[in-house]
Symmetry: C2
Subunit: 389 residues, 2 copies
């Protein structure tokens, strides 16, 4: 009999207690501070963005308490979560602090997962994790490689979550080559997640709250970082690297044919790449955190078409033919996520709207049969993270 | 008998001779300068971006000579072009110069179109145009309204091309209200086109030529400007405004459900809008300059689904039901374009690859029958610009 189909959340965050304590000790962003609210009660607030209104946002035990994570999972029938530290990770720290805290937080997360519950009637645990690398200026690549080894030795950590700054020059920095090699060799999954967006001047003078940096800045940042990785040849040199993109790859799917065209028109850039830009999108993984069925179907199309673009840039035109149904093929690289505990409901409701919307989006994709939907909801994650053979 | 189906190019640029002369008179970007090339010949070069390599790019008569435009059209079987001045328009000029030049260039473009040829066996001309507004700091809204009136009195000008800076504070500037009202009342189409991208620091230190600012920066800029327009309520206040987005709306289609979700989670922003963010995409027009069939199909889906999202943000969930086939419905707001004379072929070939790719992309969209393809290739433009009833 086939195993019960599991719902696996691969985009779900935590501020581990050690990290939260550290944020409380700080007087500049990122920080957690206490204030007395209108009702006369003490409450904690989180400030993580440089240009955020000074009141920050509410923060509570859902960010660090494992029981709260499990309660959230139970409420939404999520069987397994691959938990990752939330931004801004260690980005803001001096090298020595980042290095020490990475090691400690990786141990903490291993403990968070390994001492947690298992899926009922199963050997599978309910919690796995993405570790942290001390990706800050001044940290040597060999230190990063050491941390990759630490993480790969922690059996419940299945990958690393990273931002886009690398050790100061972004992810297309040649100095990171040994890090990519080590991650690929260890079989860890890289979860690429934004934090900085783009220059805030782009948002203008009107007060639109967090809408523009979150809705546009975050996806733009992921798109830029991934494109720079493609252009730097990282995926040509490390074909086994497994990169999972937050928020369904941001704007990369929609801009990938334009990207290919711009590369085609620049012979120097084109000559450095082994494939048409669209080919590389078929080597990536995308969370299904896009809130719409049309978006998910499109990302699936873009992944599924990639095999038609294996030719070098500017070579005779691609075959355009994909064997099989590209919308179904592409689904194998897409994975359900919630972004918990961000995007909380505005009122006390049974389920979180952000979660419900992402599940409805999966369910509503034209051209996905139940098999593809089950894949996106859990089977693809079990396979990608080696949780079930 | 049905009229022969026409191919109409709505994204095709010109530097009118008066504008080119003006660029030649300048010593700072944007400018046209002469140099002696390796073969000992004098050639002209164009510099339009602040961070562009100092050699700029080749420029020649294809940018200003109407015969070259018509030759290009003939080569690609384009019957009608709606020609627009290329970026950066008048953006860099002091108010008085911008105002004077706008008036003159609008007359020039009217002349360029009206004295040109007609479509064979037809009363239709082969050239129509988008006029220019002196959108620079220090120009008064009433001056802009005057220029709108000038343009609407020039019978071959069917719209205006604008950048994203407005009169210094972007397009969500309240001061522009009378301008939107005047444009809507005149029935002109606004062609929104990028020039600035986003802060160049985002591209990192590697030399990737123009790839990142063109492939990502341009679409990001369009996405930001349009989103700010939506958030400012311009489309609620001016429901008859017709805005055509360059490059298929950049990343807006892929990020629109995320945008809706972010708005839903911000009650103050949500309370200002009459509809879910996705609704507004169905009020926009999109060029079909995306270089891929999957992209075009997706944009069509996003336009087509919009009627399901007419409810206010955060209200009970949208019906999700669209009467009819949303992929077909959406095609009615998409229009073929070439971006000529940019993206020229690298070698002397019969046809421009960028044009061929955009035509192939239209032809390859799953779910579009010949009627939808004919619409995108020309019928939608004839209708939008009132060229054929």
């Amino acid at each position: 009999m086939a195993a019960r189909k599991l719902l696996v959340d691969i985009h779900t965050h935590v501020y581990l207690p050690r990290y939260a304590s550290f944020l409380r000790s700080r007087s500049v962003v990122p920080r957690i501070f206490s204030r007395t609210n209108d009702a006369g009660k003490t409450e904690e607030r989180l400030l993580i963005l440089d240009d955020e209104p000074s009141a920050g946002r509410p923060i509570g035990s859902q960010y660090w308490d494992r029981d709260e994570k499990l309660k959230f999972m139970d409420k939404h029938d999520i069987d397994v979560s691959i938990v990752s530290s939330a931004n801004p990770w260690l980005d803001f720290l001096p090298a020595s602090t980042a290095q020490q805290l990475a090691g400690e937080l990786n141990e903490d997360l291993e403990n968070y997962c390994s001492t947690g519950p298992s899926v009922q009637d199963d050997t599978l645990k309910r919690l796995y994790g993405f570790g942290l690398l001390p990706l800050v200026p001044g940290v040597s690549p060999s230190t990063l490689v050491e941390t990759v080894k630490q993480i790969s030795a922690l059996s419940h950590l299945k990958g690393v979550i990273i931002g886009t700054r690398g050790i100061g020059k972004g992810l297309d920095d040649d100095a990171l080559e040994p890090v990519w090699a080590a991650i690929a060799e260890a079989g860890l999954v890289i979860f690429l997640h934004p934090h900085y967006g783009v220059d805030g001047k782009a948002w203008g003078e009107k007060d639109n709250g967090h809408v523009l940096p979150l809705a546009l800045g975050f996806p733009f940042e992921t798109t830029i970082a991934t494109t720079r990785l493609i252009l730097s040849g990282v995926f040509d040199r490390h074909p086994n690297l497994r990169l999972l993109l937050a928020h369904s790859g941001g704007a990369l799917p929609q801009l990938s044919s334009r990207l290919a065209s711009c590369i085609d028109h620049d012979p120097i850039v084109a000559s450095r790449l082994s494939h048409d830009a669209r080919y590389y999108l078929g080597k990536l993984y995308f969370d299904a955190v896009a809130y719409g069925s049309e978006e998910l179907g499109f990302v699936s199309d873009v992944i599924g078409r990639s095999s038609a673009y294996s030719a070098r840039p500017s070579s005779a035109k691609a075959s355009k033919n994909v064997e099989g149904d590209k919308r179904k093929i592409g689904s194998a690289r897409m994975l359900f996520g919630t972004d918990h505990p961000f995007f909380p409901p505005l009122s006390e409701t049974e389920k979180w709207k952000s979660v419900v919307e992402n599940l409805e989006a999966i369910d509503g994709v034209n051209g996905w049969a139940e098999t593809e939907k089950e894949g996106v909801r859990g089977d693809n994650a079990l396979k990608l993270f080696g949780l079930r053979v």
